[in-house]
Subunit: 192 residues, 2 copies
């Protein structure tokens, strides 16, 4: 059995390599540059090897998205934990979210802009995605205000953050006032 186990380990390692390389390439040169040929060359295997791990390019994007969701959830929780009081927590959460989107644009795109073939907002949604939403909910739930469903409030707050993240990065909004926009958002949306 040891032989088979070793092979499975190697296989799993190569799969991680594929995902990590795809992410790296996407962050360096954008998702357009992540072609199956280039990706195969970087991992030093031929193209068809990719298809023995993933159904296609879409699934590779999905794998990067899941990785990113887990990472984001961890960062959001760390930011919230480091702040005292509801107001500071919400502000820290919002900053951490936008910060993640800015530092990992390709990963953020994989999660929310591109089609990674993932299910959202339903039962068979992968765990990391649900958990990232849960990380938002944990902090935002306590400032939803009376009579407002925490989940609904989190959705609205998240949408606002997502809008700020994408519009700023795409050059649709001036980057200079980003911090002031966050403060306004927190001041108005959260019930403190």
């Amino acid at each position: 059995m040891s032989v088979q186990e070793r092979k499975e380990r190697e296989r799993a390692g190569r799969e991680r390599l594929i995902v990590a390389t795809a992410r790296e390439l996407a962050e360096q040169q954008g998702w357009d540059a992540v072609t199956t040929r280039r990706l195969a060359e970087r991992i030093e295997y031929s193209q068809p090897v990719l298809y023995s791990h993933f159904r296609g390019k879409r699934e590779i994007i999905g794998a990067v998205a899941l990785l990113g969701a887990a990472e984001m959830a961890a960062e959001l929780r760390a930011a919230a934990r480091a702040a005292d009081g509801p107001r500071a927590r919400v502000t820290a959460l919002a900053r951490a979210y936008l910060d993640f989107a800015e530092r990992n644009p390709a990963v953020y795109d994989a999660m929310f802009q591109l089609d990674g073939g993932l299910a959202f907002a339903q039962e068979d949604t992968p765990e990391p995605l649900k958990d990232a939403f849960a990380a938002l909910l944990e902090t935002l739930g306590e400032v939803a205000g009376e009579g407002v469903h925490p989940g609904l409030f989190t959705e609205v707050f998240w949408a606002a953050l997502h809008g700020l993240a994408t519009l700023t990065r795409a050059g649709r909004q001036p980057p200079a006032d980003a911090e002031r926009r966050v403060e306004l958002l927190v001041d108005r949306l959260a019930v403190l």
Copy 2:
């Protein structure tokens, strides 16, 4: 001179045909289906003709985006005009925005998701884009609240709307509660 004028008219007409056809095709089958070959076939010309009007596919997307921006600005103003009082106006504006995004997903993508090679939030931003933002500003400026810059407030409100529009359409948020999210957004963000 008449001959030359006629030629220019025909040329302008064909350019409109290209943009309208691209939009139509994108709304019917998504932007992925808008290939230069298919587009050329639909307008009953060969591919290179497209390149005598536009630098490339990106510019065609940009042209659709400009068309959409003008349309959206008109719809936003109409919705605001039909409502009485600040609160009703803001709600109507928000609904009109989300409605436009839902009814014209491909055009909305051309404006805010895809790269149409357009400049945003700077001096050489095309007029229709500035005007669409102005349409938002006209209604939202009056509910920004004291001491809050109307432009900044509009940016935040717009970001929230954009987030709701994209996340809902991409299946990232359950469509059922869309209306309740809008109400919550208006209640919290606007100072009435």
